[in-house]
């Protein structure tokens, strides 16, 4: 039946829409050129992509190693160190990074190198950046030590470590001796190791607060502190400090350290102003405003000796407290007493000979 059906009449779609460029308007020609250019660019990009893909495939087939190291840069010639108030120096960084000779800048594993720096403990944060063509930029941020401690691993000889505010224990590098020697030793600390690394000391923040408050406000007192014991920190909230001029000073963590140091300074001043000064044995600042003070027993005087009459009530009470601690009113709790403390110059020969407690781990 279909063979008898005459074909449909011509439709407008049979009109050819191709048009010669000369018949186009200038805008039409511009559009055509733009469209052609776009098509050519797309074609070229397509061809280049195909060719690139083919080349990569060929290289992968023949020599895959070439693909793994496509970029070759110059070997590292400079290691530049950046950071604020750095103690660590460039040679230390070079030693720690231990880059192989003629190491290629692009082949460096920056994450692994960063881990090496952080492993020292002294480095809090590190960032390594490639600076082409041949420089490795190392930006580091250091920890500041607040105390030190001696520890012995197994049967080895004791080693000295530094402790930062966050409790991280590390071997200090590049510190000057006079800086390290001013730091008090820590005692009563149970060091723990985990996978060969010393764990941070708990409660060190509180101790650091005490030490920095003392160093900032009463440096003379601070320089006489030799040992800081954390033995009763967790159980009783007390920090015991061995001081050359006050014996054992116990600080409480519940009260402001600033006030406690002010009281301590007052008590030491009072004891030194006594016409017959008696060495202090212990001061407990952790019990509140009434401070128990113990004095050392003096050497037994000769039988015929005559003791002078006490000129000051305090000295009288000092003698009276040989067997029982005397309660000193906290008159020095006012900050002005603390401000007066730095006025007392540190004697060159007053630096105590520190006893260094050893921690066996």
């Amino acid at each position: 039946m279909s063979s008898s059906i005459s074909p449909s009449a011509r439709s407008w779609r049979d009109i050819p829409q191709t048009i010669a460029p000369r018949a186009m308007s200038s805008t039409g020609r511009k559009r055509m050129i733009f469209a052609n250019t776009k098509a050519i660019v797309a074609l070229v990009i397509g061809c280049v992509s195909l060719w690139g893909g083919y080349e990569i495939f060929q290289t992968w087939e023949t020599n895959p190693a070439k693909l793994k190291a496509p970029v070759k840069s110059a070997p590292v010639k400079n290691i530049s160190l950046r950071g604020q108030n750095l103690v660590l120096d460039q040679p230390w960084v070079v030693r720690t990074l231990a880059l192989p000779k003629n190491a290629d800048l692009m082949e460096l594993d920056l994450y692994a190198l960063r881990e090496r720096l952080l492993a020292s403990g002294q480095v809090r944060a590190a960032e390594l950046t490639r600076k082409f063509p041949d420089t490795l930029l190392v930006s580091i941020e250091e920890r500041s030590p607040v105390a030190r401690l001696n520890a012995r691993f197994g049967e080895g000889s004791p080693e000295e470590f530094l402790v930062a505010r966050d409790g991280v224990v590390y071997r200090g590098a590049c510190y000057k001796d006079d800086v390290v020697k001013t730091l008090p030793y820590l005692a009563g600390v149970a060091l723990k190791r985990n996978s060969g690394k010393l764990q941070p000391i708990e409660g060190m923040e509180t101790v650091a607060d005490l030490l920095t408050t003392a160093r900032a406000n009463a440096p003379t007192l601070y320089h006489h502190w030799s040992i800081v014991s954390l033995e009763r920190l967790n159980s009783d909230g007390q920090i015991a400090v061995e001081s050359a001029d006050a014996g054992t000073v116990t600080f409480g963590t519940r009260e402001d350290f600033y006030k406690q140091i002010a009281r301590l300074d007052y008590i030491i001043d009072q004891s030194k102003n006594n016409p017959t000064p008696t060495p202090l044995k212990a001061i407990n600042l952790a019990v509140g405003e009434q401070v128990p003070v113990s004095f050392q027993l003096p050497q037994a005087p000769p039988a015929n000796s005559t003791a002078p009459a006490p000129a000051h009530p305090a000295s009288a009470s000092t003698h009276a407290s040989r067997s029982t601690p005397r309660l000193v009113p906290a008159a020095a709790s006012h900050p002005r007493n603390v401000r007066a403390a730095p006025s007392r110059p540190l004697q060159a020969n007053s630096v105590p000979t520190h006893r260094s407690p050893r921690r066996d781990i």
């Binding site: 279909s2 059906i5 005459s6 449909s8 009449a9 829409q17 186009m24 805008t27 039409g28």
Partner: protein, 401 residues
């Protein structure tokens, strides 16, 4: 912009102006109008390109303006087609259902459709649209006869055809801008889709789009375009009549038409006069208002009479329940809907565009452009492009047997 986004342009090359709308057709079949351009038309008379260069310049100026406002380039154009050269005829075909069990198959529908469309045209004529009317299976109207049981399958097509050279000129104006023409759509169908609802088209409605140079009309019945036509008379003839009757220049007559023209004579007082400009300057004159109304209403009346005559027997007032809808630039003439209603003897109204259209475009003059975008959105619309069944090898084999 996703790769599935397409920018379509709706272009109407009219006698008085060229209108371009740009729609962003998204992947999810939603359309946003993003650009608009308009330019005074040149080189076009009664919807036909007479001066290619002038028409091309005007159209491309409107296209550039629209592209500039949209900020993008048009991918393809939906072009409105009008002109006095467009004509239409109805052709019907009948086949007997071939299957022994009288079940209508795809082959039957394909055959009857091809038979109905297979009517040769005179030389130099080309088909613009084949608009299919509903199928009839044993006399009953069915939208899709496939898998229904019957003996006789009828279908009719309203074929719109035009002069090849004039259609080609229109297309070449667009191609000169290096943009392909995706679809050629009859102006009356484009505007009719926008100003009538599906219910109107189902109940029967006449859409009359009175432009400047031509009047396009379409009669809808049973949900599809039943008859279409174009008469080469439009709003410019009203202006011309006023210019001749009152001895005015074309510009003066146009102003007078816009200010005092009416579709029917309302003024009863013969002595009532109106000023030409109203500025009392030299040359400002008075004209009887009734005379202006008589001239405009006479021409309007005549246009509707011609449309009614062209529709002939196709128009039955009882089967045109939705009445007559007047649109196009001249639809702004007051009382024009009343004139149409009187001529056709049905209710009349001026076409209103849907509320979702931007207020700036809610003008009867943009109905065609908006309708073109609608066709772009529904490019497989039944009236413009009937769904063609995909015939495979076996279908062709059995058809030939």
């Amino acid at each position: 912009m996703t790769s599935k986004t397409k920018y379509i342009g709706a272009v109407e090359i009219g006698t008085s102006k060229v209108t371009v709308l740009i729609g962003e057709l998204s992947q999810n079949r939603s359309l946003h109008i993003i650009g608009f351009g308009e330019c005074q038309s040149r080189g076009v008379i009664k919807g036909t390109v007479m001066d290619f260069r002038a028409a091309s310049d005007a159209t491309q100026s409107a296209l550039l303006s629209a592209e500039s406002s949209a900020g993008t380039r048009i991918d393809e154009v939906y072009l409105a087609q009008t002109g006095g050269h467009l004509e239409g005829f109805y052709n019907e075909a009948t086949v007997s259902v071939s299957a022994a069990d009288n079940l209508v198959s795809a082959i039957d529908t394909d055959t009857v459709c091809r038979l109905a469309k297979a009517k040769s045209l005179p030389d130099g004529r080309m088909v613009v649209h084949h608009i299919r009317r509903p199928f009839r299976l044993d006399g009953r109207l069915v939208p899709d006869p496939e898998h229904l049981v019957g003996h006789r399958l009828d279908v009719g097509y309203w074929t719109v055809h035009g002069q090849e050279t004039k259609i080609a000129d229109n297309i070449h104006v667009i191609r000169g801008f290096n943009v392909p023409v995706a679809e050629l759509i009859l102006s009356s169908l484009a505007s009719g889709t926008m100003v009538t609802s599906a219910e109107d088209r189902q109940n029967g409605v006449i859409v009359i789009d009175i432009g400047a140079g031509t009047t396009d009309f379409a009669l809808y019945r049973d949900g599809c375009a039943y008859a279409t036509g174009v008469i080469p008379v439009g709003g410019s003839h009203l202006t011309n009549d006023l210019a001749l009757g009152l001895r005015l220049t074309e510009g003066q007559a146009d102003k007078l038409k816009e200010r005092f023209g009416r579709g029917t004579v309302v003024t009863r007082d013969k002595a009532e006069r109106v000023w030409l400009n109203g500025d009392f300057a030299i040359g400002d004159r008075q004209f009887p208002r009734q005379a202006i109304e008589q001239i405009t209403s006479a021409r309007t009346w005549e246009i509707f009479e011609v449309v009614k005559k062209k529709l002939g027997a196709s128009f039955v007032a009882d089967r045109t329940a939705a009445g007559v809808v007047v649109t196009g630039g001249t639809a702004k003439l007051p009382n024009i809907a009343e004139a149409a209603a009187k001529v056709f003897g049905v209710v009349g109204r001026v076409g209103e565009l849907p509320g979702y259209i931007n207020e700036n475009l809610r003008d009867p003059a943009y109905a065609t452009g908006l309708g073109l975008l609608y066709f772009g959105l529904n490019s497989n619309a039944e009236s413009a492009a009937p769904a063609r069944r995909r015939s495979n090898f076996f279908t062709k084999l059995f058809a030939s047997v």
